[in-house]
Symmetry: C2
DNA sequence: ATTTGTACCGTGTGGTGTAATGGTACAACA
DNA sequence: TGTTGTACCATTACACCACACGGTACAAAT
């Protein structure tokens, strides 16, 4: 697997990793069931911190692109190719976009929207 | 009109102003049609910047609690008492809260929600 | 001439979240 | 024993935004 990380790129390192692994799956360069390099191994190869790689793996597993089998390693998910195409972020963006448009049309200030958002995210009730 | 601003309070100054004017309206201390002090006048009285007072007035007018009549001054809105009770922020908070709960239940990270939100607010289309 | 609301330029402070780094430790596997 | 994913402690640098401030200027009303 050839993975190139560009430190100069403004895209976060963990995001670059996710992109490239997804691309490799879609291009059939790594097939379902295949074992992926361990977190420590990949971090060492790419000169990254283990936590950066762990973060990428964690998100990839949430999206069912990979599977971690306890202490036995990490493998490509059986339905990886299909799950690569499901874009959770796009769904979130669309839903938010619609709601925020409604707010703005009702005269709500961007500043007010931001503050309400921050409050909700922190479970501060009003 | 007796308005007290507490600089020590963590509540933003403009928000304190809004609260107190609304309270004065609800308590019948200032009645619909009455003229309010000018922005410069009130800022001077309360030792505030004119912009801080202007911000409070702008939001109060959006909520139809007051009315600015061009260059003739600012007056209490005819339906001020009723409009004081409409809380736009509460509506925004409720709507956002529901949507964010849905996101979280779907496994979306708080970090991802924040990033998507920032993108939408800045009209950056991914 | 003065006052009105409004709009524009700007500065500075403080809070908050992200990203990435370091180190250490654990239980479960081979 | 060595490796696996994972969890915890922490720090650094960076960026965004809210809030409040200062100054200046304008057209329309009194």
């Amino acid at each position: 697997m050839e993975i190139m990380i560009d430190i100069e790129d403004s895209t976060p390192l963990f995001a670059q990793l996710i992109e490239q692994i997804k691309k490799a799956v879609l291009d059939d360069k790594i097939k379902p069931g295949t074992a992926l390099p361990s977190i420590r191994q990949l971090a060492s190869d790419l000169q990254l911190n283990t936590k950066t790689v762990a973060k990428a793996y964690r998100l990839l597993e949430r999206d069912s692109v990979i599977q971690t089998r306890g202490y036995r390693g990490t493998f490509v998910h059986p339905d990886a190719k299909a799950n690569c195409k499901v874009d959770l972020n796009e769904w979130v963006t669309d839903k938010l976009s619609g709601m925020i448009s409604t707010f703005r049309e009702s005269g709500v200030t961007d500043s007010e929207i931001r503050i309400a958002f921050a409050n909700v995210m922190n479970n501060r009730s009003i």
